[in-house]
Symmetry: C3
């Protein structure tokens, strides 16, 4: 399922852009940009894999860093030209990345035999912990603690995925249902706010 | 030794209450409460298990999260009714939880063949690292760096446990001695301050 | 190669001094000093080993903590007598420690079969992540994000090491080349600034 990897890299790139923007706002140097872009993009997945005691996903796959570094470089070039990526474009792709990270993280935990409760937590952690580390390094209180709907959306998506599996859906159907509901909820939340 | 698990869960619940109170003070949302309660309660044990490279204690045991979520929910309900848990009640149970975490963490490291020095550090880390992560997420300097007696009490408890083992005490006797001395020292420290 | 261990301990001690100075500036207590000294000295290597899923380097070797605690104690004694370690002396030994950490971290990752890109990142992380955790615990924005040359020097050293290996140099020669170039660059950066 090669297209899954492309969704993954797209989520990684969008998260890297958000890390780059945070580093830019804090007037960090080039190294700060690289660290914040990387930590935002792969921090959650790394924490998940370390806790689940499986090989960290990027350790044998350079494509993650190519996605991160390209996204960071492009963002810096745009910022230097005083261009900005429109916020709703960013949020749209962020919602896709979020849907992907939560469901894949939940599935990975289930595959390793965790309970449903722990699996949903692992899925949510995959998606939000990177941003939390970004905010800690920027000396901000994690944004995710201030905008309830972001994290709740992740939890709902994970729960839908697991309910679909329990109702007898195939993994693929459950994934589509989980991701679609998470993605729609997230778009709805953006519209409302 | 099933009653050990109940002590463990009591410590977990008290630490979850302290995380909930911190989130409340910082006016975080419901997700912030859950994350801070969880991180305070199981952050130290998770870090210990990841460093010792053994399965994380809560990965196959939902009772930890049931204890955390119940404690957080109860605390929020009390806070909303403008009721508070008396501070000395909290400190009393915190001292029991602390005694338990330090000694069990020290024993776990010793079982894996670490030196006495590393075992005491692991025991202390089990007990204090969760609160340190809580404080970092709240953008505070860790409280444990400002009130010397808290951490020193942990170290003393771990040392008593190991000295008792070296003096030929059974594991059970050494545990009782270590926990009792840690608990008494902690109560004495609370009285004095 | 026993002398390698002595270089390692020297780097550990210098990093522990920098953690102690940070704790002193923030008026932390004795426990804060021990935690900051330890985290600065072994935080980067611990993170590297946890991510690479190999036993953490200090778990069966007390010499790390003896080096850390001696360095912290000595620093505190000097500070209490209003003596200071001259800044350029510190920077000189820091440059040696840095050169050592980066190259040994890069080599450790390569030994485990990672790509060159991941290996250089692991080497750099070994050297700078401890200081980043120190700064987060002190509630500062990581220093390494504000002084570009520090981290870039690490990356250059790692790249030189890998290029030398690819050019057919023996491990020992590549190590000498990598460490020397990193060390010289770092001294040059100190002179310039």
């Amino acid at each position: 399922m090669d297209y899954l990897h492309w969704f993954d890299l797209m989520g990684i790139a969008v998260f890297a852009i958000s890390g780059t923007l945070a580093a830019w706002r804090k007037q960090m140097d080039g190294f700060g940009v690289l660290v914040l872009a990387s930590v935002t993009a792969i921090g959650g997945g790394t924490l998940r894999d370390v806790i689940l005691d499986v090989p960290v996903v990027w350790i044998n796959d350079n494509s993650y860093f190519i996605a991160i570094f390209s996204a960071a470089l492009l963002t810096i070039l745009l910022l230097r030209k005083r261009l900005t990526i429109p916020n709703n474009t960013l949020q749209f792709f962020d919602a896709i990345g979020l849907a992907f990270f939560v469901i894949m993280g939940t599935q990975k935990a289930l595959d390793l035999g965790t309970s449903n409760l722990v699996a949903v937590m692992m899925g949510t952690m995959s998606a939000v912990a990177g941003g939390m580390i970004r905010d800690v390094l920027c000396r901000d209180i994690p944004m995710v603690f201030r905008g309830e709907l972001y994290a709740v959306t992740c939890i709902v998506g994970g729960v839908v995925y697991i309910l679909a599996l329990h109702a007898g859906a195939s993994t693929l159907l459950a994934m589509v249902l989980g991701m679609t509901s998470l993605f729609s909820l997230r778009l709805a939340a953006i519209k409302w706010q």
